[in-house]
Amino acid sequence: MNYFRKYYYGDYGDKEAPTGGDTGKAAANEWPLWEVFIRSKQGLDHKHVGSLHAADAQMAVENARDVYTRRMEGVSIWVVESKYIHASNPDEAESFYEPAEDKVYRHPTFYDLPDEVNHM
């Protein structure tokens, strides 16, 4: 059954027994894990850049500023506690993503137009 264990972002400790160590020391006092998203400049989407630990949301934003924008990488920061991320399951990747493969009619290149038609 071991082979079917799944490990999620931030999904350790409280929901599953921690693995990979014989230290036996549970991370009882560890600050929660947060995912960090940064907008690198106005007009662009926030992009996931990594994670960090912080005691609360305010500290998480500040830590993100100190850790992930030291070289002017961002103009805006989002943080979300990792345990609140809901993700699709890779086991369902086929049913999730493959049905889109044959829907070529959703793409503009599917339509042949005479050369005279510009800007379309």
Partner: protein, 315 residues
């Protein structure tokens, strides 16, 4: 699907250079190997802050002080990126730190050598970070997604480290006789330990073969070490210094530099705890951690209090 099919499907993905992501199926051994490798790497960054941190208070100019502080701070950042990558594999940072402190987890032995003069800051940047980059650049394409993304970030920042190291040595090498002597002495002390950073010979490397197959590792120890020697043997000329190896010479036939025998006895001794600073480094890490316990606890307690208050207000 039987387990064998999972395994072969997994290997197919690796062979096709498709990255493995945290929620994907992976062999337990792959996960364990990654945790070991990534956490060792993270520990090396964190312990690696200490030998250089040793000179922050004594940096000889305000500019050098700024550069050194920023560099040591980057190493904290690198440790953080790497711990985060390992955390996606189902281990917590605190657990990893516990393994470091208990001696279960290793870190790069190079940091068990002392930094004795200011020139050591340059030598570490040039040789130690230079060797590290050799190892790290290929890891930007390693098979595990979070690890490879962390390494891309690390490598981007790391290139400043090697450059500042070399530049700092260049300034010293054009300075007074005392400064030049300082540079040569630093090179003499850091050269062999830097070569050891690439690990044992391929024939004796414990984890190499499987790691290559999984693309956790992309070049062999000896291959990378040779590249490093070829690069440094040329750069040292620009400093007007020499490398402490009488056997170092260009081999026309191989199109590589030949170099002398590494003292593996020293290597294994330092790995197993007999380096000049093993105890000092680990003690410093443990002290920082233990002294910080009440701080971490207090921040957590405060966050919980505040959350409870907010809840009450909302109710």
């Amino acid at each position: 699907m039987p387990v064998q099919n999972f395994e072969s499907h997994f290997q197919e993905k690796i062979d096709a250079d498709v990255r493995i992501e945290p929620k994907d199926w992976m062999p337990e051994k792959y996960r364990q190997t990654l945790i070991r490798q990534i956490s060792q790497h993270a520990h090396s960054e964190i312990v690696g802050m200490l030998p250089e941190g040793n000179w922050i208070s004594r940096a000889p100019s305000l500019k050098r002080k700024q550069i050194l502080i920023a560099k040591v701070q980057d190493e904290a950042g690198h440790g953080l990126y790497l711990y985060s990558a390992a955390e996606t594999l189902g281990i917590s940072r605190d657990e990893m730190i516990g393994q470091l402190h208990s001696g279960k987890a290793k870190y790069s032995s190079i940091f068990n050598y002392p930094t004795l003069t200011w020139a050591d800051m340059g030598a570490i940047g040039w040789l130690v970070d230079g060797a590290a980059i050799m190892n790290q650049v290929p890891l930007c394409r390693t098979s595990y997604g979070p690890y490879s993304r962390a390494m891309i970030r690390v490598c981007k920042e790391e290139s400043f480290h090697q450059r500042q190291g070399f530049e700092s040595l260049l300034v010293l090498s054009r300075g007074t006789p005392e400064q030049r002597a300082m540079v040569q002495d630093a090179i003499d002390r850091w050269w062999w330990p830097s070569l050891m950073m690439f690990g044992p010979h391929d024939s004796e490397s414990l984890h190499s073969e499987q790691s290559m197959k999984w693309k956790i590792k992309r070049f062999s120890n000896d291959e990378l070490r040779q590249r490093f020697v070829d690069m440094i043997a040329e750069q040292v000329k620009l400093l007007g210094m020499t490398l402490p190896d009488p056997d170092l010479k260009w081999n026309e036939e191989r199109s590589h530099y030949d170099f002398g025998k590494i003292n593996w006895e020293e290597f294994w001794n330092v790995v197993s705890g007999n380096g000049p600073c093993n105890k000092q480094r680990l003690d410093a890490r443990k002290k920082a951690w233990d002294d910080g316990a009440w701080v971490r606890e207090a921040a957590k307690a405060h966050a919980e209090k505040r959350a409870a208050r907010n809840k009450q207000q909302a109710a």
